[in-house]
């Protein structure tokens, strides 16, 4: 038996060394820049197919359909199938004017009826699209459509930006498999569970894409990496843990995101219970001095370097870098002395010399929960606990399942992650109206001034005005929901999204990506081309 083991391991060794010599040749695929085809593995298969009414295209470009509005690479709002929009005085009626030259890939024109049909279908599809604010859609003339909302809401804009328009005349059970639309590409073939092949739509009204045919492989991150190593891909999405491995012929693109992680603190003292009996509040984290001290003491750069391998940015809010982010809310962190001062001013003292602060008999100790299957959140939680220990604050770190966290999240700090291109997120996280509703504002934060700004932001008639209020809600000079104000959260980092990209492929200017790695990179697919040199 022993002999056998030796023989076997020698054979294995031979195979391995033999292979590492053989595999260095660069695949022919990479060098060739005359081809106008690409093969990408950037995301999972959309299970429900390519029907926008069931959620297709919410992240990245809908490819086959066009939206009414879109964002450019600076995230400014521009027009796609629409040529203008207006919001009524009370904010409840949105009138959108359509371009009259938009054609579906089957040659029929896009008209107001199609827009009406799209939104009505999406409203009743019981999918991830929440359009419940929409009362009705009225067709004024073939190129004018009115959206009537139950109440004013400036974030309805997001629906206009993301919902692809479906042709009324060709919608049916098979639509998700055979999408027809007015987008830059049309679907040629879908091998379920494996890949889609798309080609340019000759009827597309916008900029013609350089690449005539693109194949998307539906591989998980490990398989995508293996395929990239085997030289079979022009682009692969990879997790940070693979970032150290070099792949010949490919470069690592690190794209900034608002895919953030932060600590949610229970904002109110303990005592209350929710209707279904969950505890609300935590006496330690209800003290603003504790929250502020933690915010100031954390060294965010160190978290990015140590835990994210440098692929990330320090996080200061739920919306870093987005048009509604208030730049003033950034602050100097990693300052243990300043944090100590804050605590001392608030009468937190270590009276019995055990290294933990006390105030009126209360120990500065609390539990921080994280989802047990998420290594990044676990590392962040442990690192933060270490960083605040010198202050005399003890954080007990505990991994739980989301179901357990749901029961404990109103009374314990939780390591959460958000990040959306829709500012409604700010409202849901910080409005007192949303306190305790599912994962929204689970710390029961409330500040009447902030509430006022948030409501005003919703009631705004255009994005600029809304953004002013979103910013004021974060910090208006006196108060706000940011770490400068009430500090109901300690935001930590934004995680970069990593892609291995063919070194000759130019993917243009990438915008800041939302929570959700993968598809968002297709946003500017029409701008991709080979590098000239």
């Amino acid at each position: 038996m022993k002999k056998f083991i030796i023989v076997f391991s020698v054979i294995i060794l031979l195979i391995f060394t033999g292979c590492s010599n053989g595999g260095n040749g660069e695949s022919k695929n990479h060098a060739d820049t005359t081809r106008d085809e690409l093969i990408l593995a950037v995301g999972n298969e959309p299970e429900t197919g390519f029907d926008p009414a069931l959620g297709w295209g919410q992240y990245g470009s809908p490819l086959f359909q066009s939206t009414l509005l879109k964002r450019d690479h600076d995230l400014n709002v521009t027009y796609d199938a629409a040529k203008g929009y207006e919001v009524s005085e009370n904010g409840k009626v949105w009138t959108v004017k359509l371009r009259d030259d938009v054609m579906f890939s089957d040659g029929k024109p896009l008209r107001a009826e199609d827009v009406q049909f799209t939104y009505e279908t999406a409203l009743t599809s019981d999918s991830v699209l929440d359009l419940n604010i929409l009362e009705k859609v009225v067709v004024k003339d073939p190129v004018t459509v009115e959206f009537h909302l139950y109440e004013a809401n400036s974030t309805f804009l997001h629906s206009l930006l993301t919902l692809g328009i479906i042709p009324k005349h060709s919608y049916g059970d098979q639509y998700a498999e055979n999408p027809i639309g007015s987008g830059p590409y049309k679907l040629v073939q879908w091998d379920k569970g494996q890949q889609i092949i798309i080609e340019t739509n000759p009827n597309y009204y916008g900029k013609k894409p350089f690449f005539k045919r693109i194949t998307f492989l539906f591989l998980n991150e490990d398989a995508a990496f293996a395929a990239a190593k085997a030289g079979q891909l022009d682009m692969a999405y990879i997790p940070a843990s693979f970032s150290k491995n070099e792949v010949p012929g490919m470069v690592l693109e690190s794209i900034q995101s608002v895919d953030n992680r932060g600590i949610m603190f229970p904002y109110v003292p303990s005592g209350e219970k929710t209707d279904d009996g969950k505890d609300i509040g935590n006496d330690v984290t209800a003290d603003i001095a504790i929250r502020k001290a933690i915010n100031v003491a954390i060294d965010r750069e160190a978290l990015v370097d140590g835990i994210l391998e440098g692929y990330g940015t320090p996080g200061y809010s739920a919306a870093d870098g987005l048009p509604w982010f208030n730049e003033e809310t950034k602050f100097e962190d990693g300052d243990v002395n300043a944090a100590k001062e804050i605590l001392a001013k608030a009468d937190w003292k270590d009276e019995n010399g055990d290294g933990v602060l006390e105030k009126e008999g209360l120990k500065a100790a609390f539990t921080l929960l994280y989802p047990a299957n998420d290594v990044t959140r676990q590392s962040l939680a442990i690192a933060v606990a270490d960083m605040v220990k010198p202050l005399g604050i003890t954080i007990k770190v505990e991994g739980k399942s989301w179901d357990e966290i749901e029961n404990l999240m109103h009374s314990n700090a939780v390591m959460m992650g958000w990040g959306s291109h829709d500012p409604i997120e700010i409202y849901n996280l910080f409005s007192s109206k949303m306190a305790g509703m599912d994962y929204y504002n689970s710390g029961f934060y409330s500040n009447p001034k902030v509430d006022e700004y948030l409501e005003k932001a919703l009631l705004s008639k255009n994005e600029q005005e809304a953004n002013e209020y979103w910013k004021k809600a974060q910090w208006d000079g006196k108060t706000g929901l940011s770490s400068k104000g009430d500090a109901p959260w300690a935001w930590l980092v934004n995680i970069d999204h990593l892609y291995l990209v063919n070194e000759k492929l130019n993917i243009g200017e990438q915008r800041i990506q939302p929570h959700g790695h993968g598809w968002p990179i297709t946003d500017n697919l029409v701008d991709w081309k080979w590098d000239e040199k």
């Binding site: 292979c19 492989l217 998980n220 030289g231 997120e425």
Partner: protein, 328 residues
């Protein structure tokens, strides 16, 4: 002949009670699982899907009714031949199983034949050379295989043959970016080699070791001694007096191994991104898609049951001793 009918009749009864028990147990397990299907469906869109919309989704999926009622509704439509609609894919479960199973079937048949053949030959070779070096190597090889998780073996093969040597594609059932009409049979074969080989490994050790043991028993029997005394030896001896005796445990075992084949396929398909039942099962389980998971459970029960039934039938036909024994 009448015996075969009564045999089948009893089996059908057993199958029905098995199916019933399995679906009840599965349903109870899923409804007590901590997975919230709505949460799993919404995923990262959590912040943009309000309570009202969640309510609508739950209603659409029939999750608002009490579990007993859900099960009853599901059960009565199953009796009428309708397995329901998958929650995450929004397509009829029957259609999905049909589509995915066709992919898996080719994979499983190839793997099954391969493992049976290789295992049988290895087993014979080992027994013929008992305690000599071929036997020791084969035994060692089998113990290693039996202790090797399928997915690990799959990853190893993937690294060696797909990533380093680039002999085979890294996964999927068809080449990337090629239209269906241009996909050749050779393409399909090159895509199925690695997953089928990985999957075949599951069965080899089992069949080989059992065949080996049986043949050793046979070889030490008196009728072999007698045949040897008459001057028969080597392959002729094996062919005349051994094969029929030793093929029985191999066949029974191999048909009964359908369950392992199914389990192995889940892992092999996962590693090679192969679009079969395995991937669908993993998705359905992780995301609490009740109709799809129940459909798959019923289907796999049928599949495994069919394997066992075939094993019984074949031993019934091959082994005259079983025929003579009168059923009570």
């Amino acid at each position: 002949m009448r015996m075969i009918f009564s045999f089948i009749g009893r089996k059908v009864l057993r199958l029905l009670s098995l199916l019933f028990a399995i679906s009840v147990i599965t349903f109870i397990l899923i409804s007590h699982s901590p997975i919230d299907p709505i949460q799993a469906y919404i995923g990262a869109d959590m912040m943009r899907v309000g309570p009202e919309q969640r309510e609508k989704i739950a209603e659409n999926w029939g999750l608002n009714e009490p579990p007993a009622e859900q099960f009853f509704r599901w059960g009565s439509s199953v009796i009428q031949g309708d397995l329901g609609t998958s929650m995450i894919y929004r397509r009829p479960v029957t259609e999905m199983i049909h589509e995915k199973f066709l992919h898996s079937l080719a994979l499983m048949i190839i793997a099954w034949l391969l493992s049976g053949l290789i295992g049988f030959i290895l087993g014979i070779a080992a027994a013929m050379k008992k305690d000599k070096w071929p036997d020791r190597i084969i035994k060692g090889y089998c113990y290693t295989l039996a202790a090797t998780p399928t997915f690990w073996m799959g990853l190893l093969l993937l690294m060696i043959f797909a990533v380093w040597l680039e002999w085979f594609p890294i996964g999927m059932g068809v080449p990337a970016g090629v239209l269906t009409e241009n996909v050749t049979l050779a393409d399909r074969i090159s895509h199925i080699v690695l997953p089928a080989f990985t999957l075949s490994i599951v069965g080899v050790a089992n069949v080989a070791l059992h065949t080996r043991q049986k043949l050793i028993d046979v070889l030490s029997s008196e009728y072999i001694l007698f045949a040897k005394a008459r001057g028969e030896k080597g392959f002729t001896l094996l062919w005349r007096h051994g094969i029929r005796n030793i093929s029985l445990p191999a066949i029974t075992l191999h048909f009964a191994g359908f369950s392992e084949l199914f389990g192995g396929a889940v892992l092999a398909e996962q590693v090679f991104s192969y679009p079969g039942l395995g991937q669908a099962t993993v998705e359905a389980g992780l995301r609490g898609d009740i109709p799809l998971l129940l459909g798959l459970v019923i289907f796999s029960t049928l599949f495994v049951f069919a394997g066992n039934l075939l094993a019984d039938l074949i031993s019934f036909i091959v082994d005259p001793r079983l025929k003579e024994r009168k059923p009570v």
